[in-house]
Symmetry: C2
Subunit: 283 residues, 2 copies
């Protein structure tokens, strides 16, 4: 494999179950503005976090194949559930590097905690996987990790109910057990949760630091691409966004996550496969 | 078509995006205890109600094909979203009868209303389809119909948060505009909502009648099968349940909906197609 040293203008591939992964795309664009990007959001089958390992792996492979068909040089699993469940398998079988959001978040939390007590909130599937505990304990086995799932946060964020009494009561109910454990750091272990940040900070108080893995993940991507000499310097990088359903809704909602205009979003259904001609023969 | 007069022990097929359609299965079993049933719940791709017409039609066709492969004699679309969006198309192309949940619910509401003011709650897709308005106005164009979507009700019901302050505040927020319209009848236009019935009745008060289409749909199925001479009298009817994900969870959760033990639930992924040998040649 020496394709990496040829500075091809191949894009970075990013996928998520929906719109949340755009927070990761945003940080990657900020750190690596000369890279092209292909983003896929599986909005027809969202959410992933309430489903089994078997189904999350199946959907994740289909998402990745779609990105491979676009000739990506690196894949970012910008979805906590997919990262928690399928990253090891992707990394084992794919030739190109695959970066998830769990390790960067775990590292940032381990660096941030003063008392050595970290909280994690995520989907049921992410919680069940125990991925955050494993990654944090790989760094420091003495850190206490308390994990809880927050199933209503994704629908609240998608509904746009991010402030007011109802979201506050729901968030208090979920966070209370973590506060009782005296956490000083909280990992937002789902790419939807940053939308609820102000609300969560109000409940947590100023002494708890929130870790959002988007920026940390972008840093890991930049470091890895630098180390492996994979950076592009394209004066006109392309950004292409695909979803499996509701592209207009993604264009509207996505702006809030990406922090800039998205442009036209196209429909793709990776589970239907791709004609051979679409496979990039240069890869 | 004279297969219908041969009293074959073919099953009734029922599908839903998930577990909610079991409320319909329950009423069908009660009214037609000698009928075999094949149930499919698309738990890998749930929910349908937040997705586009295009995707709901695609998924619905796959669900129906799975039932056809099991040699069903009639299909019940026990999902409001699928009924609202895809029923006309299914009915146009399939030889066997197809029964949805919208018409029975609309008829029951038109019969129930005293003041001629009916409320409907449902998913975003059901609301956007305007199906309930159309069906009610086909019966009586003078009935006022007020419709609202309740996106958080499905996650609340799936979470089991069906009582207490948080569900009460959410339900009040959704129902307030309907109460201001002075409705005397409310259609529960999603098979998940019957789980929230006690909570909703508290907010609505005794003067508002709730219509849950499960029983009405079962009555329509029984009437249609009687009229078309399709009834079976099987002393040992089979009940087979399939889901696309999390069968154990469906077994646990399903009991609450079905009102009896479900037995073993199997996995099926209709989007992967079926081997030709699985197609029932007697159909």
């Amino acid at each position: 494999m020496n394709t990496s040293s040829e500075h091809k203008p191949q894009p970075i591939g990013i996928f998520d179950s929906g719109v949340g992964g755009l927070t990761v795309a945003r940080q990657i664009i900020k750190l690596l503005p000369e890279e092209s990007i292909v983003y896929f959001g599986d909005t027809a089958r969202v959410p992933y976090g309430t489903k089994s390992d078997r189904i999350v792996r199946e959907f994740t492979w289909e998402d990745c194949l779609f990105l491979l068909w676009h000739g990506v040089k690196l894949i970012v699993a910008a979805c906590n559930t997919a990262s928690a469940i399928a990253l090891d398998e992707l990394d084992r079988y794919l030739q190109i590097p695959v970066v998830g959001v769990i390790k960067p978040g775990a590292r940032a939390a381990a660096e941030s905690t003063q008392r050595g007590i970290v909280g994690v909130i995520g989907t049921q599937a992410t919680v069940d996987s125990k991925s955050y505990q494993k990654e944090i304990h790989r760094i420091d086995p003495d850190i206490q990790v308390h994990v809880t799932s927050c199933p209503l946060f994704v629908p609240l964020a998608e509904e746009g109910w991010t402030e007011g009494e109802i979201p506050k009561l729901i968030a208090e109910k979920y966070l209370q057990p973590l506060l009782l454990e005296n956490i000083d750091t909280l990992i937002l272990g789902c790419t939807h949760y940053p939308l609820l940040k102000p609300l969560l900070q109000d409940i947590l108080g100023d002494e708890v630091t929130m870790v959002d893995s988007a920026l940390e993940t972008a840093k890991d991507v930049a470091a890895l691409m630098t180390a492996q000499d994979m950076l592009s310097s394209d004066p006109d990088p392309q950004r292409n966004f695909y979803v499996s359903d509701l592209p207009r809704r993604f264009e509207d909602l996505g702006q809030r996550f990406l922090g800039e205009q998205i442009g036209t979003v196209s429909i793709a259904e990776p589970w239907k496969g791709s004609p051979p001609s679409q496979f990039d023969e240069t890869k």
